[in-house]
């Protein structure tokens, strides 16, 4: 059967070169990087090299990189650690309404600790207005955290413009670049941010390995107390194979960035244009052009995402959805609600995220497979029935 994996936002495959680089660290190189002997030296030197490579991906200095277990830990460390480090100055933080749960729920934890949180809204394309961030900032604001790109709707945020505001007001600015780093050019100097999260499983590196970059001189309270690893900012024996894989993936992403973008963008646009052309009553979610190169997301009216996922899976196609039924809490994606979609429309969410293995043929296959699936579910749908009979209920 045809197999088409279009869920790279959930997890990318690992590049063969990345796996290759990791293998010795699952074998003969097993020392603890903190150990004072040759075994430790070999491991530590490899970790340091990986640190350089990850720093290289985002234009940072190696010693500013804190290795973590992934995007969620990076975001927890950033939001809690930066806010706590400054709580004597104030207890207010600003986030956007479409942050990943690892940021939003960290902010909720800060609320339990006496902080106040302001959620900045987004427009119908999911774009944060820098003026709104400026408005949200108060005298006692000690942290702004706005994501670089959203994993559900692909929209890229105006980080540089927001950083101009935070710089002027001298407020630390963290950006969750988990969906962006390794996928689009990200340069911390150029952006002007103070902290930035990234994760290996978003750019062909291993799961379980991420990083938080924190600008030199910016204080942060550790999330994982313990040993003196990562300059005392993150305890715990280093995940050496994961870190090596992350480093290799960063190195390759740095080199291939432009060619990947060139490859993915037209394929993505093929879906973004093809889907509404082939199927009536389809809404593109997120920004139409200022979006991640491999990211095509839609809401298909009158039907529900999980059912779509299951039928696509039966045809060998892997995608994801932000529908309430696909979430364990049975709530529609907060991102889709934030861009102003009704719960009813949000139910039809479907998300295609392309990767290095994606071909034009895959896109054609998807464009050919989707219409009969949508048709079948609409034939079953009482909402579609009503719409056809009364013209009511459409967007």
């Amino acid at each position: 059967m045809t197999k088409v994996y279009l869920d790279n936002a959930a997890s990318t495959p690992i590049l063969p070169e990345v796996k290759e680089a990791m293998l010795p660290f699952l074998g003969e190189i097993y020392g603890n990087p903190q150990s004072l002997h040759d075994w430790g030296d070999t491991a530590r030197m490899a970790v340091d090299e990986a640190r350089e490579k990850v720093a290289g991906l985002i234009g940072a200095q190696a010693e500013e990189i804190i290795f973590t277990s992934g995007g969620t830990e990076s975001n927890n460390l950033a939001v809690k650690g930066l806010a706590l480090a400054q709580q004597t100055k104030g207890k207010h933080v600003v986030v956007s309404a479409i942050e990943h749960f690892s940021v939003l729920h960290s902010a909720r934890t800060l609320e339990k600790w006496g902080f106040k949180v302001t959620e900045v809204p987004v427009d119908k394309y999911g774009v944060v207005n820098p003026a709104d961030v400026k408005k949200a900032i108060k005298k006692d604001t000690v942290l702004v955290s706005i994501m670089h790109a959203n994993g559900e709707i692909g929209t890229i945020e105006p980080i540089k413009e927001i950083a101009k505001i935070t710089k002027e007001l001298k407020i630390p600015f963290h950006t969750d670049a988990v969906a962006a780093a390794g996928t689009i050019p990200v340069n911390v100097g150029d952006l002007g941010v103070d902290a930035l999260s990234l994760a290996g499983s978003q750019f062909y590196g291993p799961k379980g390995a991420g990083a938080l970059w924190v600008r030199k001189g910016v204080r942060i309270i550790p999330l994982l107390d313990g040993g003196i690893q990562e300059g005392g900012r993150r305890g715990g024996t280093e995940n050496v194979p994961g870190i090596i894989g992350l480093g290799k993936a960063a190195e390759i992403a740095t080199a291939q960035m432009q060619s990947r973008i060139k490859k993915l963008t037209p394929l993505r646009d093929g879906l973004i244009k093809g889907m509404p052309a082939k199927i009536d009553h389809v809404v593109v979610t997120g920004h139409l052009t200022n979006r991640l190169p491999g990211h095509a997301s839609f809401c298909v009216e009158f039907i529900e995402g999980e059912a779509m996922l299951m039928l696509l899976n039966s045809k060998g196609i892997a995608v994801s959805s932000g529908s309430a039924c696909t979430s364990r809490a049975l709530k529609a994606s907060h991102v889709l609600i934030a861009i102003g979609l009704s719960h009813e429309i949000a139910q039809g969410s479907v998300l295609f995220t392309l990767g290095l293995e994606t071909t034009k043929k895959d896109i054609d296959y998807v464009l050919e497979t989707m219409p009969p699936i949508v048709d079948r579910l609409r034939q079953m749908s009482p909402l579609y029935d009503k719409f056809i009979k009364t013209g009511k209920g459409g967007k």
């Binding site: 309430a324 039924c325 749908s381």
Partner: protein
């Protein structure tokens, strides 16, 4: 995939009795697209028994499988029997549903019950109109 068993998958992939009955004797609607799922059941009654049952469902895999199972179970039942059909009966016949999908099985039986009530109301109205 959601943690659906084979039985559920079968009813999702090959739902029985999908559709609408023109001039149905009773129609029942349950659920709300805002909450995620919505089902419409159509029944045809003959000799106080469910002669035909059809449905349309907007919702997840479980909602579709539940609707299909309800329609299959209900067909041929007397109206009183069908009114006694519980969500647990349906979930049981489907050999279990994931915990967070149990509410779908409530909707299926309820929509059927609504269709029967609708039929009975219409009968009463007819009787009253006589």
């Amino acid at each position: 995939m959601p943690a659906y068993n084979e039985k559920v998958m079968d009813h999702f992939m090959n739902p029985r009795n999908v559709g609408e009955i023109k001039n149905a004797d009773g129609v029942g609607e349950e659920g709300n697209p805002v909450c995620g799922d919505m089902m419409t059941f159509y029944i045809k009654v003959k000799d106080n028994k469910l002669d035909d049952v059809k449905f349309k469902t907007f919702g997840c895999g479980a909602a579709i499988a539940v609707s299909s199972m309800v329609s299959e179970m209900a067909k041929g039942m007397t109206l009183d029997e069908a009114m006694k059909l519980t969500p647990a009966d349906v979930a049981g016949k489907l050999e279990g549903l994931p915990k967070n999908k149990l509410h779908c099985s409530n909707l299926g039986a309820q929509a059927l019950h609504e269709a029967i009530k609708d039929y009975r109301n219409k009968q009463k109205a007819k009787a009253g109109g006589k």
